[in-house]
């Protein structure tokens, strides 16, 4: 594990964080992806790539990785991740989670249940809204459906959905809005209604929202995706206009990457997000855990 954390931020624990800071936690789990492994190495690869782009103008601490490979089942991974996220939020800081497969996002979003109602902006080639048949399975294909059912989650926006799917996935949930390109290779835009309002948002970035020519290191690439500049621009506009309650980047798979293109893209989009974000202290939502 590298000596410094994401963007050269110091390693530390939650007590190192102050209000408005960024608290990083890695979740090296690909438990939710039965097709291909490798996102377990995502957090470290993103940290490594971020070393070339230090952020000295943003305060942050890297709390390291959640233990995953001690035989833990997904429920324990969710619980361990949730505990770290609560500790970060308890300091008034913003949790920034490095995956891992996208199933990990559920842990972060569900742990922020004391932040009041917030919306979700989900950058992804897929809607991650596959049927969820019960409590026994948890995976990256149905994670947004589970998140949508959380009582503290308001509206959901999926940006970048595309390609060949089984059916029209945009019609699955009343609060789900899907924006897609006008045609392959043409970038969609964030609806203006999502760039205003007091309610905070959680931003989740599945790196497969990018075109495979930009981010080849991911398990389920879909052609016709966004370029990195467009994604960074969209993330900036959300971060400048809405209060960010938490964020993550998921599905970076270094085993499938080419010359670290994907982990570097992940670091760049996170850099865009934390620099554009208006620093703020989250409400004291869980002081007991701090």
């Amino acid at each position: 594990m590298s000596e410094h954390g994401l963007f050269g931020w110091p390693r530390g624990d939650a007590t190192s964080l102050g209000p408005g800071d960024v608290g990083v936690v890695g979740v090296p789990s690909d438990f939710g992806n039965a097709y291909v492994s490798g996102t377990r190495a995502g957090p470290e690869a993103i940290r490594r790539s971020s070393a070339a782009m230090p952020l000295r103008d943003v305060a942050g601490h890297d709390l390291g990785d959640v233990d995953v490979f001690d035989g833990a089942d997904w429920a324990e991974i969710v619980e361990r991740t949730g505990e770290r996220v609560r500790r970060i939020a308890g300091q008034g800081a913003m949790p920034l989670v490095l995956g891992g497969d996208h199933a990990v996002s559920y842990a972060a979003v569900s742990a922020l249940d004391r932040a009041g109602t917030f919306d979700i902006v989900w950058f992804d080639a897929h809607t991650d809204f596959c049927p969820w048949h019960g409590a026994d399975w948890h995976n990256h294909k149905q994670v947004l459906r589970r998140i949508a059912s959380l009582p503290h989650v308001g509206r959901l926006l999926v940006v970048g959905h595309r390609g060949i799917t089984y059916f029209d996935e945009s019609l699955q949930w009343p609060a789900l809005e899907v924006v897609r390109p006008a045609s392959p290779g043409h970038a969609p835009s964030i609806p203006s209604s999502w760039l205003e309002g007091e309610r905070p948002v959680y931003v989740s970035i599945d790196i497969d929202v990018l075109d495979p020519c930009t981010a080849p290191g991911t398990g389920h690439p879909v052609p016709g995706g966004l370029d990195l500049d467009t994604l960074c621009s969209m993330v900036r506009s959300v971060a400048r206009s809405r209060r960010i309650v938490g964020a993550d980047v998921m599905e970076v798979n270094p085993l499938l990457d080419y010359e670290a293109m994907t982990s570097r893209a992940a670091a760049e989009v996170l850099s865009a997000l934390v620099r554009a974000r208006v620093p703020h202290s989250l409400p004291a939502i869980d002081g007991a855990l701090a």
């Binding site: 390609g163 060949i164 089984y166 897609r180 045609s183 043409h186 495979p212 080849p216 052609p223 016709g224």
Partner: protein, 398 residues
């Protein structure tokens, strides 16, 4: 050659095929296997006992104790003979060559297609052959690797009606291939050191067999030369244009090469009696030859030429028959050097839809799939998206 039916008559002796073996046996049932074509059957143990009585040439009448062709045992023997487990004495001494391998997974998880006329609308055949181009080393593993990648977008059937569900193109917001059935005939057998002509003749024969009832053939290569058998088959039914999307160099001399290679494919295709025109669609940054309706071979840069493909004078109701090929190696990928001309997904997606509107797509090939290249995952999914787009353009053009 592809029909395995032994002539069946209650009084004509039959013998067990030497290619039959028993894979599993218990008190109630047996699983029997025919290595000559990969057929597996699970049969009752009582039927297996009767079958073993054909170890020496014996008439079904003797084994079943009746000449009544409607008797259950007699009907079962007729079926086993039809599938090749029973053969005419002497004929089975000549080993029936295995012509295809059953893949461990099938394209999009569609049903397997045996060596008979497919009832499906579209049938896939793998061509694990990469001797046709020095630069295609590794492409022999393309068919298997594409099948494995295709399991991310599975073929589905309505559980009550059996009607194919098709897919949904989220970019165009429309269904694709709804009601269109698929089947996978496996991979052509390529024996070590076998002659080129023998492999391609086998492919032609298999393609002719499985498409006899009208299925649209899709060849999965392999290097670009593997497109030849499916083009040859398609032109048998009438005048045909060929449009192949790739990175064809300007090497017209290669066309005259006496042997079929990836480079000489246009010349060999144009020497077929019904191939009227061959269009190589090359990346936008490459210099095309312009569109000349009089030329039988033309290289067209993809930019701006999509709507002006050389059929503009053809009325829609007279849509020409076309074979469409896609060389996966020419698709843009993350590991490309900036100077390498490549096709973008968006360009080819639009081009395929345009071809479907102007032409009648009667056959397809997808070649140049090398799972050993960097960024294979993205390449494979791009190729599979374009394959489904091409098939949609063939079956439900809009």
């Amino acid at each position: 050659m592809m029909d395995t039916d032994a002539s069946f008559s209650p009084d004509v002796p039959l013998v067990l095929s030497p290619w039959m073996s028993v894979e599993q046996l218990d008190d109630s049932a047996a699983t029997i296997f025919l290595s000559s074509d990969g057929t597996r059957l699970r049969i009752p143990r009582s039927l297996h006992r009767l079958l073993l009585r054909f170890a020496t040439a014996t008439s079904p009448h003797e084994v079943c104790g009746t000449s009544d062709p409607t008797a259950p045992a007699m009907r079962a023997m007729a079926q086993l003979a039809a599938k090749g487990f029973l053969a005419t004495p002497g004929s089975a001494a000549v080993p029936p060559a295995r012509v295809v391998w059953d893949p461990p997974v099938r394209m999009f998880d569609a049903p397997a297609q045996k060596l008979r006329a497919a009832q499906a609308d579209i049938v896939f055949l793998g061509m694990p052959w990469d001797f046709g181009s020095y630069t295609a080393a590794g492409a022999r593993r393309g068919p298997s690797a594409l099948r494995e990648a295709s399991l991310q977008i599975l073929y589905g059937l309505d559980r009550l009606t059996g009607r194919p569900l098709g897919w949904f193109d989220a970019d165009r917001r429309c269904p694709v291939l709804t009601g269109v059935s698929l089947a996978d005939a496996g991979d052509i057998v390529v024996n070590h050191g076998e002659r080129h002509a023998a492999v391609f003749a086998r492919a032609s024969e298999v393609l002719a067999t499985v498409t006899r009832d009208g299925a649209l053939p899709v060849s999965i290569g392999g290097d670009a030369s593997t497109a030849y058998p499916v083009i040859e088959l398609a032109q048998r039914a009438g005048p045909l244009d060929v449009m192949r999307i790739g990175r064809a160099p300007r090497e017209p001399r290669a066309f005259d090469a006496p042997r079929l290679t990836a480079e000489s494919l246009p010349g060999h295709a144009l020497s077929l009696p019904n191939v009227e025109r061959y269009v190589d669609v090359i990346p936008a940054v490459m210099q095309g030859d312009g569109i000349d309706g009089a030329q039988r071979y033309v290289r067209v840069a993809v930019d701006g030429a999509v709507a002006a493909m050389p059929t503009s004078q053809v009325l829609p109701q007279e849509r020409r028959r076309v074979h469409v090929g896609i060389d996966i190696d020419s698709l843009a990928k993350a590991s490309d050097s900036p100077s390498l001309p490549s096709h973008t997904y968006a360009e080819i997606h639009a081009l395929l839809l345009a071809i479907g509107r102007s032409y009648r797509i009667v056959s397809v090939d997808l070649c140049g799939a090398d799972p050993g290249v960097a960024c294979w995952g993205g390449v494979a999914m791009t190729a599979l998206h374009l394959l489904l787009t091409a098939l949609g353009a063939a079956k439900d053009p809009v």
